[in-house]
C-alpha cells in the first residue's frame, strides 16, 4: 500500500465532557478513613475470614468476597513499599523541586496508601524505610489531613 505523507486529511475539532460519575459512598470505605483522620487516626476495615486489613476499606473483602464492616485502628507509622521521585512534568520538562511520592503500608494494614515523604534527601529514600504521618495542625476529616510523611 502506498504511504503518502504529503497528503493531508482534514482535522475536525471537538470536545468531550467526562466529568459526571456516580460512586457509592455509604458511610463505609473511604469515609471511615476520612472521618478517623479528624481524630488523627488511621482506620481500616478488617476481614474476619482472612484477617486482611484494608485502608481505606472496601465494603467487601476482595479476596474472600464477603461483606466486611469491622473497623480497626492502624498505626500512623508505616513502611515505604515503593516510591518514585517526581523530577519532571509529563512533557519531560524538569521540575525545580524534586518530590518523593511513596506507597506506604501502615503498620497493622495490608494495603498500600500514597503520600509524599519529606525531611530526607530524595536519593536517600529506600524501600523498607519506616515513615510516620505528619498531620495538619487542624484536621478536617478528609484525606488531606495527612500533610506529609517523614522518616521515623
Amino acid at each position: 500500500m502506498a504511504y503518502n505523507k504529503d497528503l493531508e486529511t482534514r482535522e475536525v475539532q471537538a470536545t468531550w465532557d467526562v466529568t459526571t460519575y456516580q460512586y457509592k459512598l455509604d458511610g463505609r470505605g473511604a469515609k471511615v478513613l476520612a472521618d478517623g483522620m479528624k481524630e488523627k487516626t488511621i482506620r481500616g476495615i478488617k476481614c474476619p475470614q482472612c484477617g486482611r486489613v484494608y485502608v481505606p476499606g472496601p465494603t467487601y473483602c476482595r479476596v474472600c468476597y464477603i461483606d466486611i464492616d469491622d473497623v480497626v485502628d492502624c498505626s500512623d507509622e508505616g513502611v515505604v513499599m515503593s516510591y518514585c521521585i517526581e523530577m519532571a512534568d509529563v512533557r519531560g520538562n524538569p521540575m525545580d523541586e524534586h518530590r518523593v511520592s511513596a506507597m506506604i503500608k501502615f503498620d497493622g494494614a495490608d494495603t498500600w496508601f500514597i503520600g509524599t515523604v519529606h525531611g530526607i534527601d530524595p536519593m536517600d529514600v529506600k524501600i523498607g524505610m519506616k515513615v510516620k504521618a505528619i498531620w495538619k495542625d487542624v484536621t478536617e476529616g478528609n484525606l488531606g489531613d495527612i500533610q506529609r510523611f517523614e522518616p521515623v
Binding site: V18, P58, C84, A88, V90, T111, F113
Partner: protein
C-alpha cells in the same frame, strides 16, 4: 483436552507506524493492514470466515469503530466482534481468533488491531480508567496534583510505572543503569525494523541524556504514541495444508490471567505490589504446559515482551520464566538479549519503540510468527533458526497479562 492445531498464516502491517498518519482516516489506515495481510497470504475476502477487531476503548473517543469500518475490514455478512482489554487488546483479539478456529467453528479468521493515537487524547483515555475513583478521592480532600503524592499518578502512566520500576529494581538487584542499557538495546533494534516508530540507533549515553520524569524512569525509558494497524490471518491445520505452502507459525500455547488492580486502587485499598505480576506466572505456566515446554529458560529461541517502559522487558523475562528472578539484567550484561544472543528479546524494538496501543500486543506474536517463518523485513532478523518463541501482552491497571507461544511445528495429537 486436545485442541485442534491453529496457525498464524500471515501478517499485515500498515506501511509505517508513526506519530501522525495525516494522509488516511482511521478506517483507511486499518484497511491498509488488512489488504497487506491478504496480499501476503494470497487469500481473497471470500476466504475469511469471521473477523475479530481490537483497539483501546475511548482513546479516539469512538464507539463501534469495528462497525464503522465494516467494509474496510471485510466484515460485511460475517461474524464480527470488538475486543478491548487495555494494553493486551491486540493479543486478546488474536486469542479470540484462535478460539474461533480451535473450536472448529471457523477455519480462517482475521484478527485486526490498531490505534490512531493522533486522533485522540491518550491521557484522557488513561484517566478514564480511574476517573470515578479519582473524583471521589478529590471529594474526600486528596489533592490530585499537589502534595498528596498522587501527582506522579496524575502525570500519567510513566508516574505509575515508576513505582513498579523502583520495586523491580529493589527486588531484582538490577541498577537504574540496566534500564538505560535495555532502552538503548531496544531503540537500536528498532532502528533496524522498518515497521518501528522510533528508528534511531541509540547509545546508553543518549538515553542518559534524557531528563527524568519520575526517578528511576527517564523520558528515554518511555514508549511513543503511534498510529498504525496490524492484521493476522489465523487458520486451521486443514486449511494450512490446502491453502498455503506450509510456512506458517503455529500457536502451540496460550494463557491469560488477571490480578487485582495493582496501581491507583487507593480508594479501596491497593493489595498488590505492581512489580509482583503473578498473572504473568499463571498465564505463562498455562501456555508452556499447553505447548509442551518444560523449561522455558532453555527451550525458547526468542521473546517479544510488552514493555511500555524499558525496565519491563527485564521484569517480564523473569516473570515469564525465561530466567530466574534477579537474573535478567545479568543476561543483558552478557549480551544474551541481543538480536544474535541466546534469547533475543524485543528484536523488533518492542512496544517501547512503537506503540499503536491496540496493535501493540498483537505485534508481539506477529513478530514471533514472522521470525519463525523467516519473513522478517529488515535488519532485526534473528540469525538463528527460531523454533519456539514466547510473546506477551500486559495492561489494565497493572494487572492483566496475556501469553502466546508460537512454534515452527504444530503439536502432535
Amino acid at each position: 483436552m486436545i485442541m485442534s492445531n491453529v496457525a498464524i498464516a500471515g501478517v499485515g502491517y500498515t506501511p509505517v507506524f508513526v506519530s501522525k498518519r495525516k494522509d488516511v482516516n482511521i478506517a483507511e489506515m486499518i484497511s491498509e493492514s488488512v489488504a497487506t495481510a491478504l496480499e501476503n497470504t494470497g487469500l481473497t475476502p471470500d476466504d475469511i470466515d469471521a473477523v475479530t477487531f481490537g483497539n483501546m476503548q475511548t482513546f479516539e473517543g469512538l464507539n463501534m469503530p469495528h462497525l464503522w469500518s465494516a467494509e474496510h475490514i471485510l466484515a460485511v455478512d460475517k461474524p464480527t466482534i470488538r475486543i478491548s482489554t487495555g494494553g493486551t487488546t491486540g493479543m486478546s483479539t488474536l486469542q479470540a481468533a484462535y478460539y474461533y478456529v480451535a473450536s472448529g467453528l471457523y477455519d480462517i479468521v482475521m484478527a485486526v488491531s490498531w490505534e490512531k493515537q493522533s486522533e485522540g487524547d491518550s491521557q484522557v483515555g488513561l484517566a478514564g480508567i480511574v476517573m470515578p475513583e479519582a473524583m471521589v478521592m478529590v471529594q474526600h480532600g486528596l489533592d490530585l496534583f499537589g502534595g498528596g503524592g498522587l501527582s506522579a499518578m496524575g502525570g500519567g502512566s510513566t508516574g505509575a510505572a515508576s513505582f513498579q520500576a523502583m520495586s523491580y529494581l529493589h527486588h531484582s538487584g538490577a541498577d537504574p543503569e540496566h534500564i538505560d542499557k535495555m532502552a538503548a538495546l531496544e531503540r537500536s533494534n528498532a532502528a533496524l525494523n522498518p515497521y518501528a516508530h522510533l528508528r534511531k540507533k541509540t547509545s546508553v549515553e543518549d538515553i542518559q541524556a534524557t531528563p527524568f520524569i519520575a526517578w528511576p524512569l527517564r523520558f528515554g525509558h518511555t514508549c511513543p504514541t503511534s498510529d498504525g494497524a496490524t492484521t493476522c490471518i489465523v487458520m486451521s491445520e486443514e486449511k494450512v495444508r490446502k491453502m498455503t505452502d506450509g510456512n506458517v507459525a503455529w500457536i502451540t500455547g496460550l494463557g491469560s490471567a488477571t490480578s487485582d488492580p495493582s496501581t491507583a486502587n487507593f480508594l479501596e485499598g491497593q493489595l498488590t505490589d505492581p512489580a509482583e505480576q503473578e498473572p504473568a506466572r499463571i498465564a505463562s505456566a498455562k501456555a508452556y504446559k499447553m505447548a509442551g515446554i518444560k523449561d522455558p529458560s532453555r527451550e525458547l529461541d526468542m521473546a517479544e515482551m510488552y514493555n511500555g517502559f524499558a525496565h519491563q522487558s527485564l521484569m517480564w523475562l523473569e516473570k515469564l520464566g525465561c530466567c530466574k528472578e534477579g537474573e535478567a539484567h545479568k543476561l543483558l550484561d552478557a549480551g544474551a538479549l541481543n538480536i544474535d544472543g541466546e534469547i533475543p528479546t524485543n528484536a523488533s524494538g518492542g512496544v517501547f519503540s512503537t506503540n499503536a496501543i491496540g496493535a501493540s500486543a498483537m505485534n508481539r506474536p506477529a513478530e514471533c510468527a514472522l521470525q519463525i517463518m523467516g519473513k522478517i523485513e529488515g535488519g532485526h532478523k534473528i540469525p538463528k533458526k527460531i523454533r519456539k518463541a514466547v510473546s506477551h501482552g500486559w495492561g489494565g491497571m497493572f494487572q492483566y497479562v496475556t501469553v502466546m507461544v508460537l512454534a515452527d511445528e504444530p503439536m502432535k495429537s
